[in-house]
């Protein structure tokens, strides 16, 4: 499609996309959770690099590590019958560092995710407290949805001491952590109030004009905000929209559900699949229209790019995977982001020195140095890397009562480096890493998009 053409009319309206409720996907591959991953073991030559990079194995002597859990377990397994998955798969936090560490391309996290899914659906007691707790944690979106209707009450109730004590005792959710606050207005409410796609188109046009670009330039992205920036940190979502509009992009915020990251980590593949079907369906139609999918959370972009095609066989899933980008990454590719940042400066609230932690999932996408390098020449702010360790929370892992101590032990290295860093504000792309950073250091944590907004948007 050339820039001069207007997009063809389709029945699909991104402003009011399909509701997801009566959505009936075609099951192309009914047993898609039953992938035989034994052939993946062919690539393993047993060097143990994955084991030495696994943050959980480092602190948990009972955890056998990724080499056992992945290639060894799969090779020992038989595809038939009653070969059980070892329950240690539930101790893996799904940080995916092993994936990145393996020199030989063993599909480790795919193996873990698939085995965990099998364990949960076939071996785990569905009435056990652990199952129920994991299901609640994995379905954060559902809780957040209700909480966001009554944010003040929810914020109070969720962190109300006696209630937390009961949650820990009956559900095994640690009472050490504070639940994240729910925003008074969700991102989507803000977006709708602001005029949605129509307004965004106006803003983008104005920006293109300002920048001397053709007014009808084909610059458009579909924002996958995920649950957290919708319910808890809408300021990240707003920053994304404003930064993209500043560069002349029209933004749409299609119907979407949870990316599935917490569900993979808890082996709830059926839940994840249901959500993925909605996400893939709305994103793939947009991709067909020339949109790219942009996520501000590195675990969301990871899910859409890697885990979806590895775990599910849904129509359009590969197309979505190929066209998904992390928010800053996309601008680095398509704009002279470095140049613009160099020419800019920040003052006020975000003129800070940031202690930056690269989330494990950003590492797998090759994005772990991006924030540090991008902001190096920005006047008024400093970004200092706090090292390549894992924050230790890994989404839901650190919320589990029995994992809390280990989670903090893993995070120890990062906390120490944060302490030694110049600044007293943290920065990261991942919402749960942010929780852990805040919990361990007491710093306020910001997202790189917020700094970009402060630097580039008037």
């Amino acid at each position: 499609m050339s820039d001069a053409e207007t997009p063809p009319e389709t029945e699909f309206d991104p402003v009011a996309p399909n509701t997801g409720e009566e959505f009936e996907p075609v099951d192309v591959f009914p047993d898609s959770d039953d992938f035989d991953l034994r052939p993946g073991a062919d690539s393993c030559y047993k060097c143990s690099t994955c084991d030495t990079n696994c943050p959980v194995a480092e602190v948990d002597d009972d955890f056998p590590g990724p080499k056992f859990q992945g290639p060894e377990q799969w090779r020992l397994k038989q595809s038939d019958d009653d070969h059980e998955i070892d329950d240690s798969v539930m101790d893996c936090s799904n940080c995916m560092r092993c994936d990145n560490a393996c020199p030989s391309g063993v599909p480790l996290s795919q193996m873990h995710n698939t085995a965990r899914g099998e364990y949960v659906s076939e071996q785990m007691d569905k009435l056990s407290v652990e199952y129920i707790r994991n299901r609640i944690l994995a379905n954060y979106r559902t809780s957040a949805f209700f909480a966001s209707k009554v944010p003040r009450l929810a914020n109070f109730a969720m962190n109300f001491g006696p209630a937390r004590w009961v949650m820990e005792k009956t559900l095994g959710v640690t009472s050490e952590r504070d639940f994240p606050a729910f925003a008074k207005q969700t991102f989507r409410d803000w977006w709708a109030d602001r005029g949605g796609q129509v307004q965004s188109r106006e803003n983008a046009k104005a920006a293109r004009k300002r920048r001397g670009l053709p007014e009808d330039a084909d610059k458009k992205v579909a924002y996958f905000h995920g649950c957290y920036s919708n319910y808890n940190t809408p300021e990240v979502g707003k920053a994304m929209v404003r930064v993209y509009e500043e560069f002349g992009y029209e933004v749409v915020a299609p119907e979407q559900k949870c990316s599935g990251t917490p569900m993979f980590a808890n082996g709830m593949l059926d839940d994840a699949r249901r959500h993925a079907e909605t996400n893939v369906s709305s994103m793939s139609e947009l991709v067909d229209e020339g949109y790219h999918a942009i996520a501000s959370c590195t675990s969301c972009s990871m899910a859409l790019r890697q885990e979806y095609p590895e775990l599910f066989d849904i129509d359009g899933i590969d197309k979505v995977a190929e066209n998904t980008f992390e928010a800053v990454e996309y601008l680095r590719i398509h704009e002279d982001l470095k140049g613009e940042v160099q020419a800019a400066d920040v003052d006020g609230d975000l003129a800070e020195e940031f202690a930056y932690h690269a989330p494990c999932h950003s590492r797998n996408q090759g994005l772990d140095r991006q924030a540090v390098e991008l902001f190096r020449d920005l006047d008024g702010a400093e970004v200092e890397d706090v090292g390549d360790s894992c924050s230790g929370i890994s989404g839901t892992y650190g919320w589990k009562e029995e994992k809390y101590e280990k989670s903090m032990e893993i995070g120890e290295e990062m906390f120490e480096h944060m302490e030694h860093a110049e600044g007293e504000t943290g920065m990261t792309e991942c919402p749960t890493c942010a929780m852990q950073m805040e919990h361990g250091s007491g710093y306020e944590i910001r997202h790189p998009l917020e700094l970009l907004e402060a630097a580039l948007v008037e």
Binding site: D42, K46, L76, Q78
Partner: protein
């Protein structure tokens, strides 16, 4: 009845072990001698197919009928050695329809349960089959572990009073007054279990009767008494894949041909084979093209084999025999049936019978016939019980257990161990001490290794075939030294070193024909690891004994007491 006759059985393959067990169970005195390990010969170098008989249903119906009978018996008495995978005879579009029908009819005629399945159904069973296959015949083929089976037969013979001598070579037959009266044996390391470095020696074993069950070597034993036994050894190659691409035995449904079968075996799949006559059963060429042919031809049935990792290849020689008057040119035409050669009737030399030909699947039946024959010589009327009495390990057992609760093992490891040990699992795996995994690829723990050492002495290759330790994808790269360490402290350092060297030699040998792609990376890593951490590239300690007292005893040993149970095997708890 006079004193119990003493029978010497030569050959510790499936045939010899089966004969020894049968005779011992009938109350005879038995000595089995084997020049190497148990299964040193063809038995340790075969395909591991528990024949349904389907392969012979057209060409050799007598063998086919025996196979299906014994197939049923072994499922019962050797359940811990057998995996009933089922088998398929797969027809590709270019394969003859006429032969397909013949195969189907042949199976029916031989009493082999056979059923036609569509190409689609076959692929539903085995998703990696080629998309364009026409159809298949399903038969009750299975996979069988030859090592476990022979070791169990020998153990049972021993329980019934037999003497088993491995690493003991028969160097001569003792013939007195025109009758074979015993054998002369050269022990590698003294009688009993093999211990490296132990003084060997020769022994004269007098026997009332000698059974020659040396398979492809039968002619050599015959030579010792001037007998002419025309065994025609025929070699075949087998290539082991790292994983199981199929969980069913896959046969190509066409007349005879090379590279027409894949057998899932434990964690691996084994491709085979060829059939080519050789002069010498111990010295014949092993060539790369044979391996290439396995992969290329079988990729027509299972395309992913083309890209898959092979971990090693090995060759075996069939002990084919045909009566001198038949004279087949092509070894594939020689019958797979077995022959009992009574040298009294045949050559006027009483005191010995040879058994030649046959198959692994029918080993028990062969044993029964020989035992009947031998008992007949002594007027003993004892029933054969080998078809009813389970082998040690195959008594009632279930593999569905709570491995963590019962044995403290993670489920895939516990499962594999229990599958290997069968009913012996409780005896072997319930130990008080720590039970770390020694071989990670195959999930073999210390308890199982120790049990094997108890049974076979310092011979690590014998430990290997009993446990599968070092038979996985690293081919001993990460576990050979751990296995060797398990020999300590029962055995001294020089014994351990020699056993370790021998294991490594054996492991490298089979990888020569798998050195490309992933297995080449593995070999390079193994080499680097062994060179840098064990001085294996040039070991200055070889030869001279090491002065271990010159080393200190490690951190924390002096003065402070170290509670060794607190130290994780990976050094995890001490922070280093």
């Amino acid at each position: 009845m006079g004193p119990t006759p003493h029978i010497a059985v030569i050959g510790g393959g499936s045939t010899g072990a089966g004969i020894a067990r049968d005779l011992a169970m009938r109350g005879l005195d038995v000595t089995l001698v084997e020049q190497g390990n148990l299964t040193h010969g063809t038995t340790g170098r075969m395909h591991g197919l528990l024949h349904s008989g389907g392969r012979y249903a057209v060409s050799d119906q007598a063998s086919a009928t025996e196979c299906i009978e014994e197939n049923r018996v072994l499922r019962d008495i050797a359940s811990h050695c057998v995996e009933m995978t089922g088998g398929l005879f797969v027809k590709r579009p270019e394969d003859s329809e006429e032969y397909f029908q013949k195969k189907l009819n042949g199976c029916e005629e031989c009493g082999i349960p056979a059923e036609v399945v569509s190409g689609e159904e076959a692929r539903a069973m085995e998703p990696h089959l080629a998309k364009d296959i026409d159809k298949a015949i399903s038969v009750p083929d299975g996979a069988i572990d030859p090592f476990r089976l022979v070791v169990a037969n020998a153990a049972s013979a021993q329980e019934h009073g037999a003497r088993i001598e491995t690493h003991s070579k028969v160097t001569d037959l003792i013939v007195e007054s025109g009758e074979v009266v015993g054998i002369e044996v050269e022990h590698d390391s003294g009688p009993g279990k093999r211990v490296h470095g132990t003084e060997g020696g020769t022994e004269e074993i007098r026997a009332d009767y000698v059974v020659n069950a040396t398979g492809a070597w039968a002619g050599r034993i015959g030579d010792m008494a001037g007998l002419d036994i025309e065994v025609r050894p025929s070699k075949g190659v087998m290539t082991i894949m790292n994983i199981r691409q199929v969980d069913t035995v896959i046969n190509r449904c066409r007349p005879k041909g090379d590279a027409d079968i894949v057998v899932p075996h434990e964690t691996t799949a084994i491709l085979g084979t060829t059939d080519e006559e050789v002069e010498d059963p111990e010295d014949y060429p092993e060539e790369q093209w044979e391996v290439d042919m396995m992969i290329d031809t079988l990729s027509e049935l299972i395309p992913m084999l083309d890209e898959a990792r092979t971990i090693r290849s090995f060759w075996g020689v069939r002990p084919l025999y045909e009566p001198p008057d038949v004279g087949s040119d092509d070894p594939t035409d020689i019958t797979r049936d077995f022959f009992l050669l009574d040298h009294d009737e045949r050559d006027d030399l009483p005191g010995m019978t040879s058994i030649v030909g046959g198959k692994f699947t029918t080993y028990r039946m062969m044993g029964e016939q020989i035992a009947d024959h031998v008992c007949g010589k002594f007027g003993i009327d004892a029933d054969c019980r080998t078809a009813d009495e389970p082998l040690p390990g195959s008594e009632d057992f279930s593999v569905l257990r709570d491995y963590m609760d019962e044995f403290g093992l993670r489920s895939p490891i516990g499962r594999r161990s229990v599958e290997r040990l069968g009913s012996r699992a409780d005896d072997v795996l319930k130990t008080d001490g720590p039970n770390p995994t020694v071989c990670e690829c195959e999930g073999v723990t210390r308890a199982e290794i120790q049990d094997a050492i108890e049974g076979s002495g310092s011979d690590l290759n014998a430990v290997r075939i009993r446990t599968r330790a070092s038979m996985g994808n690293c081919q001993g790269g990460f576990c050979s030294h751990r296995m060797a360490s398990e020999l300590h402290s029962e055995y001294d350092e020089p014994v351990v070193r020699e056993a370790w060297d021998e294991l490594l030699q054996e492991r490298w040998k089979g990888q020569r024909h798998a050195l490309w792609g992933e297995q080449l990376s593995q070999a390079a890593l193994n080499y680097a690891l062994h060179a840098t951490t064990q001085n294996r590239d040039q070991d200055p300690a070889n030869g001279d004994p090491v002065d271990f007292s010159a080393f200190d005893s490690g951190r924390g040993q002096t003065g402070s007491s170290v509670d060794s149970a607190d130290v994780a095997a990976d050094g995890g708890t001490d922070g280093y």
